[in-house]
Structure formats: C-alpha cells, structure tokens
Amino acid sequence: MIIKRKEFLQIGSLATASVMLPKFLQAFEKKNMVPPGNKVVVVIQFSGGNDGLNTVIPISNDIYYKSRPKLGITKEKALGLTGDVGLNPALEAFKGFYDDGSLAILNSVGYPNPDRSHFRSMDIWHSASASNEYLYTGWLGRYLDAQCKGCDKPTQALEIDDILSLALKGNEKNGLAFTDPRRLYSSSNERFYKEINASHQSSGESVDYLYKTMSETLSSADYIFKQSKLNPSTGIYPNTDLGKNLKTISSLILSDINTKVYYVSLGSFDTHVNQEAQQKRLFTELNDAVKAFTTDLKKNNRFDDVLMMTFSEFGRRVSQNASNGTDHGTANNMFFISGGLKQKGVLNDMPDLSDLNDGDLKHKVDFKNVYATVLNKWLGSDDKTILGKQYDYLKFI
C-alpha cells in the first residue's frame, strides 16, 4: 500500500514537472533517483564565532584557567571525556555520542592568515578560498555544479533558511533555500508562473537564465513538497528553530529525495559580553535538537548514512575580556556525528595554549582538508575540481 502510494506520488511529481518545463529545457530533464544507503551530509553552522575553548574544554590545562579566571569551565562542571578533555555542560547528548562512538572532535581547524571579521571569515569558509582571494561561489555550490550537470532540479543541496548562503552558490547551479516545504510550494504554486514559464520561448541569454531558474524552482518546490509528505518524520523534536529545521531535514532524508547536502545555521555565538548564558542557551538548543534528530535517524536505520558536521567562522581569543566575554579569535574545533565514523573520539591534540600567535590559537588543520575528505570520501565527488587543488584526506570517514 505504502509502496503504491510512493510510486504514484513520484510519477505524479515527474509528470507535472515535465509539463511545467518550458520546451527549450525539456531535453535536459532526466530521472535522478538515489538508492537507499545514500550518504548525506548535514552541515550545522555556528554563526557569530563560537568559543571553541569553552566547547571542548582543556580541563587539565593551567593556562586555560589562568586566561579565563571567570569564564573558565571547571573540571567538575565539564562533561569529562578523557582526563584532559571535557565538553560544555550543556552538550550532554554529545557526551552520549562520544560514549557510543558516534562523535569525533577535530581540534585547531582554521586557515593561514586568519581574518577576524565575521563576514569575511565566513566568506572564506563558505567559498573555501585563501584569505586574500575573493570567490563568489561556495564549496557546496561547486559540488552542485559537478553533481547536477544537465539535471532539471538542483535539489542535491538544500538550505533550511530564508536566504541562500554563499556556500551553496555555484557557477552554474545554486542550491535552494526554504524554511518550510509547504510554504515553498505554495509561494511557487502560482498558475501565472507556470503559464508564463510554459509559454516562454528562448530569446536571449539573460532572460533564458531567469526562466531556467524559475523553471527549476517550480519543479524543485513541487518535488520537495511531495517528498516531504512521503514519509514524514514521526520523531519528537524540541519546538525551536533548529529542532523544526532538523525535523524537516529528517522527513526529507526518510523520503526518496536525491538530496545529498543539507545546511542549517544556529546563532549568534558572538559572545563579547556575558558569554556563559548565551552559549548555554544556544548549546541547549543544539543539544536537544541534535539528540532528537539522532534518535529519529537511528530508529529509521539511517544514522550510518548521515554525517553531521559543525563549524564556525572563527574561534575566540584564549583570554577572556573585561565583560565576561571573549573577542574574535582564530582556529576552532569541529564536531562530526555519525553512525558511520571510521575514527572516533578526540582526533588530534588539544590546542597548544603555550604557543599562541598574539593571543590566538594557531591552526593545525586547514578546513579545506576537511572539505576534501567529506567531498571525496563521503559524497564520492571530485574534490580536486571543486576545491581547485588537491588537499590531503583525513581518516575519520
């Protein structure tokens, strides 16, 4: 019964999609289904510069406590992973992931000549550029370019947000941003759009490009909405933005959609003032939402196929400032959560607090090595073309 309904919906969706495509594009449309066991990445962006040292805490390091007389999190309060490493007390579920081997922590991730401006450093992470290079495409957008040549729906990379991030913008293709599949569908499901789209005749590069984007949007919106109803998640999620967004993602992962990358953001982590309360609030939102998401994926036997990764545009300075906060810094840690990790736990040394660059951590791992690893080993794509250079792979997946 369920299978029949699924088939019906797919045929329905493809049929309407072809009707909607203007004639000059129909040749490009092809079926692009993904088999079960499909590997998926969920990127969780910590916007505003998360303080990594109060996230993964060096609980046996005197320099840490001396630099942060008020802000330092004591060994007793931290959730101890090893004798030297503790987690922020709000990340109780992450401690559980560590214990059952589904968490990896990579320390000291950054890039040469770090920029301390939020938007610039975020651009560098999104575009995977050098710090003196300006790119207008993102690493996942270029993945989409490679992945979606000639396809009619750029749904391989989706962002759950109102605005599409640079990370998902490609040269030829752009990812799609929406907060709610139903709202996306209803805003594009206008008869007028469909009719002008269907009657458009090729008449110049710019106008054709606009119609192509419109056409892709209409068919993607239709496709995403139908997929989201196919097998909606029954998991119980917290009533927070991240909770709702991860539930939307879960419903899509549990469908037959061809999406490989999901992108969500949480913030703001810009804790110049009264850091403790703000970070606690955000980490509680993160912890509860990721916990629900993980439980949901496990119940549906998809946890091994899904890799969550977190990042922030920079970490914060080692020393606290005068307002019980921290100022913009450099290198930071990343979390990887999945049932399919090859290396687990703390992957490399904790940051060396005795070897700083003007009060800031020195990076030991370039984030582009992480991207290369995820693109190549998890998504099976050509990382060298996407990143413009061959970066060495890490071993955690």
Binding site: S117, F119, R120, D123, N132, Y134, Y136, P154, D162, I163, L164, L166, K169, N174, G175, L176, A177, F178, S186, S187, S188, R191, F192, Y193, E195, I196, S199, H200, Q201, S203, G204, E205, S206, V207, Y209, L210, Y211, T213, M214, E216, T217, S220, H272, V273, N321, A322, S323, G325
Partner: protein, 485 residues
C-alpha cells in the same frame, strides 16, 4: 528588429538613472536621446546635499577620550554595545534616506553613479559617521574626477579603518590597504607584482585618522626610506603612490572595463573599451566625459546592449517606486527586501563589492523579486477573479484578503503600500484600448522576449480602464522580464 525611440530612451534611463518615472514616461516617444542625455546631465549639475544621520563621531561610535578614561571596563563595554546598536540604527536611516534620493531626486545620473562607486569603493564598517562621510565623498565626486575621488576615498577614516591602515606602521607594515587599492580600486590583478604591494604598503605607513574622524599623517610611523613601485624609485608617500597608479594607462582600462560591464554589457567589446579607456586617460579621468562617450554613442543603443542586464535589488526597488509613486506602510520594510535579495546598502559582501549579474539570482531571490509587486499592491481592491474563476479553493475570501494572506510575511512588516495611481493612469491617457496592453508592456519591459498577451489578459481586470492598467502593471512587474533592463 526595429528599436523604437521609446525603448532607446528607456534604455538610457534604466542604465544612467533608475528608470522612467510616472510623470515623464509619456514623453519618451518623442524625445531624442541626445536631448534626454543633456537633461540628465543638467539635473545632476548641482553639488549634492550631505545625507546626515550622525552629527559627529560621538554619534557615530566613539566616545570622547575623556569620557572613556573615567569609566570602568564593564560600563565601557556596555556603552560600546549601545553605541554600536545606535550606529547600526543610523546606518538603516542612512540607507533609507539614500534610497529615497535614488527614487525621488532629480539628480538621477549622480545617484546612479554613486551607487556604482559605492560598490567599487566597497567598505563595510559599522561606524555610521564614517559611512556617512564616505558616502558624501562618493556622491560629491561621482561625476567629477576619478583621481580626486580615489584620493579622498583613500584618506577617509572609513576606508583606512576597513583596510587596516591604522595598523600600517614603519617596520611593521600591514599590506591590506595597498593591496586592495591596486587590485580593486585602480589597476586590477595581474598588473603589478607582490613586491610592488610591499613597497606601496611602506609608502602608506603613517596614514590614519584621529578620534575626531579626521585624516592624519603620522610622521613618526612613516617609513621614509626609498621605495620602488612599478619601476619608479623615490622616497614616496601615499599620495605619490596614488599618482603613480593614476599614471598607469591600465588604471583607465580597469575602471572603464568595470563601468562598461555595469552600464553597457557584461560582455565587453574590445574596440569600444580601447576607444573609451584611451579617451578617459587622455581626459585625465574625467568621469562625466567618459559617460558622455558611452551614452551618446550609437553602439550603446543597439539590440545586443538593451534589456540584457539583471537589475540589482536596489535598482529593482528604486525602479518600481519611480514608476509607481507610493507610500510604504513602513519604510524599513525596504531593508527586509534588500536583505532577502542580497544587496544591503553599506553592507557589501566584501571589499570587492557586489559581483552583480547572475549572482543576484537564485531560487529564493527570484521568487521574492516576483512577489514584490504583489506585496506592494496587496491592499489594492481590484479583482481579476472573473477571468480566473477556477481558483475556487480560496472560498469566500475576497481577492484583496487572499493577496494579503498570501504575502503576509511581508505585509505584516509594513511592505505593502498606498500607490498613487493618478499619474500612472495618466501615462496612458492617449492610448486606445486595443493598443493599451502593448503600450503598458513597452513602457515596463526592456527585454527582447515578449510575453503572450492572450495569456496575460487572463490575469488582468477588465471591469474598468483604471483597473485594467493597474492589474496589467502589477502583473507585468511579476515577470522574469521585468528583472531585466
């Protein structure tokens, strides 16, 4: 294909200004382009009045040195937070006031060029006083001499702060400023060496600003040794470097090329570029003369250069408001549109400015662009249901209620408007019913693609001539074609 005189005039108005306005749209059939260009020049001749939101630096961001010394660290941080918030609010006002000028000012050419230079000299600092002063430099020099503008911008606290020249000191140089001046403001990549940047950075040492927001040359931080830049050797300072850069014909080529891509065509015609940039260089970087060369050339008005440019979000918003005089429920809603469409004035994505062209368009931005006219007109009472009668699922709701409902995320934030239709209706007073739709389409669209009028008519009210014009305009603005100029 014959290009009508109206299309040519509208082309000039969309590129050199923010599009035709309701009051003069009717006159565009007759006017010659030379006459229209002369009018544009004349109405931008006056010096602009400064758009002021912050009175002084204290309003902008910094408190006086004396105040700061008296305070303890915690109150200082709290004060700092408040000042930053105030500054952000001031930037919003600056944004809305400038956008207002783009819509209403008769100095259309000046404001349009200022928007171009605002992207060229892209600067992102939250100090509203700094931003206000930089904008004034740009608006004042927008049609003047490029060299003068370059020098004033380079000495503005905004740019010095943004590009870290306060940290550029003898023996401990910061190359950011020198690099961007060469790469983005003058010559472009590939025309100088890394060593030229290093040497230029040394020449800029000591350039900074004081707590009053004035340029200062700090002699004791300036490197007085000999430098070699682009083959010239001497004890150069910052002004010397800028003069050396202006001496390079490549600077004229780089600026002309950028301008050509923005105002004429993203695909640059080499012959035109060579001719224009040589004259720009020979005319000592006179911007007005360069624009005159472009806008009085025959090639500017050929088919390949018309209707192929994707309007930037600000051009789109200003353009709609020029044709449809309107009062928004809340002016701040324009910031919301700028944000979701990806162009917030005073917040360029980075020092290289907005890349423009196709990068404006993704699924989300395109759908919002199409939605904007519907949002603006959400509270209008016209009805087109008679032609749209299979839309039964909306039940008993009036079309007005449906429009408000459908667009409520924007309407609830004040983005719908009271449109003053009288001057708009008047544009078409001489047009006969059978030509009316074509005439409205010709007034609104620059794109070579034509929309099926039979299809359009299904979405246009027919109960009165007024409603016909209103719904035709809103519907034509709700098309991919309207995104082009």
């Amino acid at each position: 294909m014959i290009i009508s005189n109206r299309l040519k005039n509208q082309h000039l108005l969309w590129r050199a200004a923010f599009g035709p306005m309701a009051e003069n749209a009717a006159s565009l059939d007759e006017l010659s382009q030379k006459k229209l260009w002369a009018l544009l020049l004349k109405s931008s001749a006056k010096e602009p009045v400064k758009i002021a939101v912050a009175q002084n630096l204290a309003d902008g961001l910094y408190m006086g040195v004396m105040d700061a010394a008296k305070q303890n660290e915690a109150t200082k941080a709290e004060q700092g937070r408040k000042k930053r918030q105030q500054s952000r609010d001031d930037l919003k006002s600056l944004n809305i006031l400038w956008l207002q000028e783009m819509v209403n000012s008769e100095a259309q050419l000046r404001e349009k060029m200022s928007l171009f230079w605002h992207g060229h000299f892209a600067c992102r600092v939250i100090n509203s006083f700094f931003q206000q002063e930089l904008l004034h430099i740009i608006r004042t020099n927008a049609l003047g001499n490029f060299g003068d503008m370059l020098k004033e911008v380079s000495k503005s606290p905004s740019m010095l702060q943004f590009l870290n020249n306060q940290q550029n000191k003898k023996g401990n140089p910061n190359e950011n400023f020198a690099r961007e001046v060469m790469e983005l403001f003058t010559m472009g990549r590939g025309n100088y060496t890394e060593n030229d940047i290093k040497e230029a950075a040394r020449a800029f040492t000591g350039w900074g600003f004081n707590l009053q927001g004035e340029f200062v040359f700090r002699k004791n931080q300036h490197d007085t040794e000999t430098k070699t830049i682009l083959g010239k050797t001497g004890n150069f300072d910052g002004d010397d470097v800028l003069n050396i850069l202006l001496d390079q014909p490549q600077t004229a080529v780089f600026i002309t090329q950028k301008l050509y891509k923005y105002f004429v065509n993203e695909t640059v015609d080499d012959k035109n570029l060579q001719w224009l940039s040589q004259r720009f260089y020979d005319n000592k970087y006179d911007i007005k003369k360069l624009l005159e060369d472009i806008y009085t050339s025959d090639w500017f008005y050929t088919q390949k250069n018309i209707g192929n440019k994707i309007k930037s979000p600000v051009e789109l918003l200003a353009g709609i408001r020029r044709l449809l005089p309107l009062e928004l429920d809340n002016d701040q809603s324009q910031l919301l549109f700028q944000k979701v469409l990806g162009q917030i004035l005073f917040y360029p994505p980075n020092v290289a400015g907005w890349p423009g062209g196709r990068t404006w368009i993704d699924s989300s931005t395109l759908m919002v662009r199409l939605q904007i006219p519907q949002v603006l007109a959400a509270k209008e009472s016209f009805t087109i249901r008679a032609k749209n009668d299979d839309d039964v699922n909306m039940g008993q709701m009036t079309e007005q209620q449906q429009r408000i409902n459908k667009n409520k995320i924007y309407v609830s934030r004040g983005a719908s408007a009271n449109i003053d239709w009288a001057p708009v209706i008047k544009i078409f007073e001489k047009d006969k019913r059978e030509n009316l739709l074509q005439k409205i389409a010709d007034t609104l669209l620059q794109s070579p693609s034509s929309i099926d009028t039979k299809l359009l008519e299904k979405y246009i009210a027919t109960d009165s001539r007024e409603n016909f014009i209103k719904t035709a305009i809103i519907q034509l603005m709700t098309t991919p074609e309207y995104q082009l100029c």
